[in-house]
């Protein structure tokens, strides 16, 4: 791993997280406002739908999105017709997927903030001549700053750390969809680190390539020998050695 191979993906991740957070604040605000104030019987349905990404495994969700956004899917085919480009394996596709994936993390803190705000301050604003929209921006928004702060932090961090969804929807295209989590996975997957961290004794000797207990070089195919020396299953995971 070197700085150059990680800087590009890191910057891409930051861009993705920032754009996703901005889009989410705009999208989540009306949803949270409605959830916090409605008495509609549809409330539980919407609430559950919004919370779905929390319980759904990311790869499963990524798979659904891949189908939906793919050139054959409902949204994807419409987009291809409109612009000529596919949504999958593109940065825009990643933004859409990230927004859906992090939606509950933006909506939930805002719902809490709007619920604790209550009706009283708004009524006071209306009686002072503020329209509903005016009262929202001049009273509700400034009084919900803490809620927005946690919504921003959670959405940003959650997008930065997502893996399964981006891998499914975006793949691994450098400069386009190769975000930091994918890059790290890729690096780990293609290096000798696996070897060193898989055996307790080898790990202790890292970065030299010798086991600290038996001094056998753990590069190459000597794992069995090492394993026999000190315990039954310590050196089991050298399966992905690539030197």
């Amino acid at each position: 791993m070197n700085a150059n191979t990680l800087f590009g993906p890191l910057w891409l991740s930051v861009q993705l997280a920032a754009i996703t957070t901005i889009v989410l604040m705009i999208v989540a605000t009306p949803i949270a406002w409605w959830l916090a104030r409605t008495a509609s019987r549809w409330k539980p349905v919407v609430q559950t739908t919004v919370a779905l990404p929390i319980v759904l495994p990311p790869t499963v969700m990524g798979f659904y999105l891949l189908i939906l956004l793919g050139p054959g899917g409902a949204i994807g085919s419409w987009w291809v017709e409109l612009t000529g480009n596919a949504l999958t394996f593109s940065f825009l596709g990643l933004v859409i997927a990230s927004c859906l994936y992090s939606l509950p993390f933006a909506v939930q803190p805002l719902v809490v903030a709007f619920e604790s705000l209550g009706q009283r301050n708004l009524e006071a604003a209306w009686t002072l001549g503020a329209s509903r929209m005016d009262a929202f921006f001049s009273v509700a928004l400034p009084l919900s700053v803490r809620g927005y702060l946690s919504a921003v932090v959670l959405s940003f961090a959650h997008t930065l750390g997502e893996f399964g969804v981006v891998l499914m929807v975006g793949g691994n295209i450098p400069g386009e969809t190769r975000v930091i989590s994918i890059a790290i996975y890729d690096q780990v997957n293609h290096s000798t680190i696996w070897l060193h961290i898989s055996c307790r004794h080898c790990y202790l000797s890292w970065p030299s390539s010798r086991c600290s207990q038996c001094s056998i070089s753990t590069d190459g195919g000597k794992r069995d020998e090492c394993r026999q020396r000190h315990s039954r299953s310590l050196c089991v995971a050298t399966r992905r050695v690539r030197t």
Partner: protein, 361 residues
């Protein structure tokens, strides 16, 4: 009453068990009290007038302007109604300082002509508080700021929903003088909801009495207070209000002589400038009756009166309505005394008034 100087209110609102059904006029001047026990529908009425509740059927006409009418489907949203609203709690905006709070409405209702900001700020004594945040204010200070905020949006009238109810007695005493000044100096009409007879007697010119969602009495405060048939106005707190003029002050004894339609009355303290109008509140329990003028009595104020009607009250007591000059007051006496003095309607008696609370008119 002329249609240009009244608020015509007609509402029918159903909320679960509770039903509000009212149809009456309020004068667009002075302070109009809406009085009743908790749950009588006072707050619901106020919220309907403000547009915070939308009843199924309703009509609201303010000085000839229709604000709401279910027949012609007219509806003005809350922010389009030129009102000020003072809630039970101050409801100040925590993210703004006091100045920001009182300017909030001011900026949004400029079309009405700017009210005299400095006058209202000094009227409510909040000059020192302008730079503070709401959480740095005491309960009484916060409520004064809320009143200033409502007045500064230059409303046609101000709705006050028990603005003192959430405060303890000491805080109430702190705010009441400001409300007196408001009553005397500000020209804006106020609709004042209260379940406290003290506040009503002290502040209101007009009085509407509500009970379980209906208006049971409506008129100027003197004539409504002496209606002895309303249970809510009877009981321990039964009082009457008369108007008088200060005519002289005895510096030796620190007593002020007031003239009213039925004669003179002496009240302790506070020399008023000669000729100034004052409001007197007389509790029924402070008035006793005798057939003859008591000689050598410690009671200073003994005025001739005529018994107008007698109404049995709870327990041993009864209420007697008296005519003194053109004014009326209520006395609480025992039923036994009535029997022993054989008091009857039209009898001439002497009312002995033990104490009087004096307020600006």
């Amino acid at each position: 009453m002329n249609a240009d100087s009244v608020i015509h209110v007609r509402y029918a609102l159903q909320r679960g068990e509770f039903a509000l059904e009212v149809d009456f006029d309020l004068p667009l001047r002075g302070i109009s009290g809406v009085f009743g026990a908790s749950g009588a529908g006072k707050t619901s009425l106020l919220r309907c007038i403000a547009g915070l509740e939308r009843p199924a059927t309703g009509k609201l006409v303010v000085a000839g302007d229709v604000w709401q009418d279910d027949v012609s489907n007219t509806w003005r949203a809350v922010h389009e109604r030129d009102i000020g609203y003072v809630f039970q709690e101050p409801r100040l905006f925590a993210h703004l300082d006091v100045r920001g709070n009182i300017e909030y409405g001011l900026r949004r209702r400029e079309h009405n002509g700017a009210p005299d900001i400095d006058h209202i700020i000094s009227l409510l004594g909040i000059e020192q508080l302008l730079g503070r945040k709401p959480n740095e204010l005491s309960g009484g200070e916060a409520q004064r700021v809320a009143i200033a905020r409502a007045l500064l949006c230059a409303p046609r009238f101000v709705l006050m929903d028990e603005p003192l109810a959430s405060l303890d007695q000491a805080r109430k005493e702190e705010i009441l003088p400001f409300l007196d000044r408001l009553h005397a100096e500000a020209e804006v009409p106020i609709i004042y909801v209260s379940h406290n007879i003290d506040e009503v007697c002290r502040l209101c010119d007009h009085l509407v009495v509500m009970d379980i969602g209906r208006v049971v009495a409506d008129g100027d405060v003197q004539s409504v207070l002496v209606r002895m048939d309303l249970p809510i106005l009877a009981g321990e707190e039964a009082s009457s209000v008369i108007h008088g003029t200060a005519i002289s002050h005895d510096d030796n004894d620190d007593l002020t002589r007031l003239k009213f339609s039925g004669g003179d009355i002496w009240v302790p303290g506070k020399p008023k400038p000669q000729g100034s109008k004052v409001r007197l509140r007389i509790r029924a329990g402070d008035v006793s009756l005798s057939r003859t003028r008591a000689e050598q009595s410690t009671i200073l104020n003994i005025v001739p009166a005529v018994v107008e009607s007698i109404q049995p009250d709870q327990g041993a007591s009864a209420l007697v309505r008296l005519e003194i000059g053109t004014d009326q007051i209520v006395a609480r006496v025992t039923r036994r005394s009535i029997r022993e003095l054989a008091l009857q309607q039209g009898d001439e008696v002497f009312a002995q008034i033990k104490s009087v609370a004096v307020r600006a008119p």
